[in-house]
């Protein structure tokens, strides 16, 4: 290695990404944090608003907001159930594709992935119709169990999210399975391991990093749930304007109360960071043993 660093070349390669990252990621976050520290003042019933520095006033409001914390609890419950189910399915499908038991592997790989190509809003509308007690093609089922009622609507949405993302997560796990060197399988076969034994003791441990990655993605996705509840709000009397944290942010910004909405967003982002980190820390400790 030479001591002389090709600074110009480095800059040349980093700059495009750096600029876009700064413009579309750092600057908006910075602006949101700035907004969240301000509050408005006005005189009279229609006096124009003056933005003044308010310190943590907006954050006090966020922490005093019952529905917001309820919505965080709701998405956590959602995540605790939906993420393992979805990733379990994704792993199972990936293992099946990889096992050689399936004929037409290419076809199935694509077929499992297709729902991800359907835009989330379209998927939610489509499922909304399937769930509808009066319009569903399965009215015998939907009129018996109202999938849009307060008890079931969360899980009805979990089903939509699972449907959309199973294929996507499967693909990540599957590509990681393809990267396992053949020698390992040979060694396993020589030791007398069958297909199930190989899957359990070799494949799953070796794709653990991919599973951890998809879990982190899913945790982030769960906390940011927006499209599905937003669409289901029109169908279901159980979905309120503060059903998920992101929906709260959306409703607040449409008042418009940008400062409070910014504070909600910052708190939500921090909560997401915290959870993802906590998960990574826990799994990392497990891996070090």
């Amino acid at each position: 290695m030479t001591r002389k660093r090709p600074v110009a070349a480095l800059l040349f390669f980093i700059l495009p990404f750096g600029l876009l990252f700064a413009a579309f990621y750092l600057a908006p976050i910075g602006y949101a944090i700035k907004q969240s520290l301000y509050t408005v003042e006005r005189t009279g019933t229609f006096g124009p608003a003056r933005e003044v520095f308010g310190g943590l006033v907006q954050y006090q409001r966020v922490f005093a907001d019952g529905p917001f914390w309820e919505s965080i609890g709701r998405v956590l419950l959602f995540g605790v159930v939906q993420v393992p189910v979805m990733l379990g399915l994704a792993l199972l499908l990936a293992l099946l594709l990889d096992s050689g038991l399936v004929k037409g592997r290419r076809f199935f790989r694509l077929a499992f992935f297709v729902p991800y190509a359907v835009p989330g809003v379209v998927a939610a509308i489509m499922w909304g119709f399937l769930y509808s007690p009066n319009l569903s093609p399965f009215t015998t089922l939907t009129s018996k169990w109202d999938l849009l009622s307060a008890d079931l609507v969360l899980w009805a949405m979990a089903n939509v999210v699972t449907w959309v993302f199973v294929g996507y997560n499967m693909l990540i796990i599957y590509s990681s399975l393809l990267a396992i060197p053949q020698e390992v399988y040979e060694a396993a076969r020589l030791d007398g391991a069958g297909a199930i034994r190989t899957a359990w003791s070799i494949k799953i441990p070796l794709v653990m990093p991919a599973i951890v990655l998809t879990t982190v993605f899913s945790i982030i996705g769960t906390l940011q749930l927006l499209a599905e509840p937003q669409v289901f709000r029109t169908f279901s009397s159980a979905v309120t304007s503060t059903y998920t944290p992101n929906l709260t942010v959306y409703s607040t910004s449409s008042i418009p109360n940008f400062n409070l909405a910014a504070a909600f967003s910052v708190v939500l982002a921090l909560a997401t960071c915290l959870l993802s980190f906590a998960f990574l820390k826990v799994t990392q400790r497990g891996g070090d043993k």
């Binding site: 124009p48 009397s237 109360n257 820390k281």
Partner: protein, 444 residues
Amino acid sequence: MRFPMRSLGIVLTSALALTACSNGGGDDDAASTAGAASCAPSSGPVTLNYTTWIPGIEKVVKVWNDANPNIQVKVQTGPNGNGGTYQNFFNQLKAGNAPDLGHIEYDALPSFRVQDGLENLAGCSEVTAAKDQFVDWTWGQVTFGEENSVYGVPQDAGPMALFYRKDLFEKNNIPVPTTWDEYAAAAEKVKSAGGYITNFSQSDINQFAGLSWQAGGRWFANDGAKWTVNFADENTTKVANYWQGLIDKKLVSAVPPWTTEWDNAYNTSKAWTWVSAVWGANSIMSGAPDTSGKWAVAPMPQWTAGGTVAGNWGGSATAVFKGSKHPYEAAKFALWLNTSEEALTMLNSEAQLYPATKAGASLPALKQGVEFYGGQPIYDVFAQASTQVAADFVWGPTMTSTYATASDGFKGAVSGSTTLPDALKKAQDATIQNLKSQSIPVAE
């Protein structure tokens, strides 16, 4: 694991830096005061941007553009106000790139005014001179009942009446209700004939507001120094208890409004009436095509027998946004759009808008029988209702959130976890909270 931690650090530091640099920049906006804009004509040709969701507006604007080469209007259409256009307006105002003209419903005008988003057109003598052309209460909505303030040109109105299935009422010998008591009695009979008298709107609170408006409920008051918020006055509570009663007895269905399911309920004769605004005529036509010729329109049921009070649901104004460089031309276009016979006729034929002008009620197009309603000249009923709408209903400055919280509660009432009066009380508390969080003075 280290990468995210570091990036978080970067984010926080850069954010702090940004905050530090930009401190003290925020006070400039305060310089703009509530005074009326000077309304001087611009020199040379002008292009105005106009955002609305009126179907077929392009045709109307083309007529104007052909006749006014020096004031060209570029129209942009989008979803209806609460469906996303208001959010866009607020964002554009914040970013300083709002269009010159925008479509704003009366209930949203205070929200835009409180965000300092509207140009006061009281300086335009053409606008103030047009006052007498408009139905009194619509003018009250754009002036907020104040002197020297006009925050938009009234466009249309939504006087309410009773749409009902004439064929089914006749077949089952149910008299057309003229009072709310009769309406409740009819509901029982409709139920035993296998239908629902109507569908209670759980998420569009505007209908309920119109019903309260008729009953004498007044949700907001503004004395210049403070807002008063009251969703629990005697009259509103009377309306809330009435509908809660119908919900409890399962006499009304509760399909979410503005969905295919809702249309389906009307199209398959499950719902027999709808107390709605004049533009509802179009909603039924497009949503329930199989019931053509079977509907009729009667005046709204009354709280006292023989009464003549109507409610209003909807209606909008054409407003000029703050920051428009051409308020004079914008006002001129808005006046043509909302007072000239050619524009009003087109707006009615394209979008069934019901004009806010007094003369508009006698447009030839509004005198004809409508085939879908058995040939009945239905607009006569609305023309009468339009004169029966009380002029003193005031909207609050944060209706978006009021509607959202009220709707959350109404949904609960429909599914049995709360009641309409409780939902209204909760919406009132949330609204007061919301006003406070934006430093809008409000009486406790």
